[in-house]
């Protein structure tokens, strides 16, 4: 119970996007190891009207290619309640390169390093996911998966999914 609360608290703290320390900023934004459970806790932490979750890696060409588009959409909708959750699937020794890449891309919030068993991680995020990178998920504010794409995400599809996810909460509140 306490462990679960701790995981949830960690998820909320990261999801809230607490600013990184000066030292951390110099090397790039903070990247913390997280299991699928912890990542889903960050997705479902209160306070977001929609969440975009992107699983990427430094060596993954389509990940690097799509990243500016993902960040552009994050920047455009963050003020309307979109929470970005970035998960690096790099190996441990590639973390410095991952932090450098995030800094170059203007990421100013903490993110995650995938931890734990691959199969458990993949299936927890979506049984439909083969495990290929990149993978992008959009959730509405209640944590319901609105959109999933593996491979380089089409920016227009992603933006429409974010708009739908943001609209879902408004729609539900209206109908409630």
């Amino acid at each position: 119970m306490l462990a679960a609360a701790g995981i949830a608290a960690a998820g909320i703290a990261l999801a809230a996007g607490a600013p990184a320390s000066g030292a951390a900023r110099r090397g790039g934004p903070v990247i913390r190891p997280a299991t699928a459970r912890q990542i889903l806790a960050a997705v479902r932490a209160p306070g977001a009207r929609a969440v975009v979750l992107n699983v990427w890696a430094t060596w993954c060409v389509p990940c690097r290619e799509e990243f500016p588009d993902v960040m552009r959409i994050v920047a455009a909708y963050r003020g309307r309640g979109l929470r970005p959750v970035l998960v690096s699937a790099d190996f441990d020794d590639q973390v410095p390169a991952a932090r450098r890449f995030l800094r170059e891309q203007g990421v100013d919030f903490p993110s995650y390093l995938k931890s734990g068993d691959d199969m458990e991680f993949i299936n927890a995020l979506s049984p439909r996911w083969s495990g290929a990178l990149p993978a992008t998920f959009v959730y509405d504010g209640s944590g319901r998966l609105e959109y999933f794409h593996e491979g380089r995400v089409p920016p227009l599809d992603l933006e429409r999914a974010v708009q739908r996810a943001l609209g879902n909460i408004a729609g539900r509140k209206k109908g409630a």
Binding site: L40, A57, W59, C60, V61, P62, A89, F91, D92, K114, D117, D118, M119, F121, I122, N123, A124, L125, S126, P127, R128, W129, S130, G131, A132, L133, P134, Y139, G143, R144, L145, E146, Y147, F148, H149, E150, G151, R152, D157, A161, R164
Partner: protein
Amino acid sequence: MQLRVLDRWVFGFWTALAVMGGGPVKAQEAPPGLAPGDPAPMTDVKMKNVDGREISIADVQGTKGTLVIFSCNACPWAKAWEKRIVALGNTWHKKGVGVIVVNSNDPDKVAEDDYATMQKRAKQRGISYPYVVDATSDVARAFGAAHTPEAFLFGADGKLAYHGTIDDNAKEPGKVKTRYLEDALRAVAAGREVAVKETKALGCSIKFRPKA
């Protein structure tokens, strides 16, 4: 029987997680891969081997089974598993299981995945089974292969007996707990049913060539 109960429990667990994780998924999904029991598609398509010969999956078919692995030169996961794949391939193709490794990546997208590097890598690693170019990426499409490395093992009856990853730890060979592919190879060679028929691992997406 116990396995069937376990399968149901596992299916139920993941289904519950999926429902918790969300409702309808409206976007493009990964292409559906082959299901256990399916035959291999496009087995007569000739593909250029690192030795210059044109070889099809049918050409390498073994008396005890056939292993098709989609892999490449550049992907860090393929590199991490490379020595283990070579060891399995070199061992099992001598034991009656046909082995072929297929590179479906477009070298225009990842230069290191070109034919010359395949030849160099095959020589460096002492690969004694075919390592071939899927020149249209259509073989990967037909299998529903999505990433590298991804293994498809067919039994002597030609039906898919195992699909998935090599083992449960790409990065640290010394910490592997379950050797999924090797276990499946042993079962297939012995004519037994494979206990774990499908597994997953993270990997590089296949860099498909444009459709003709």
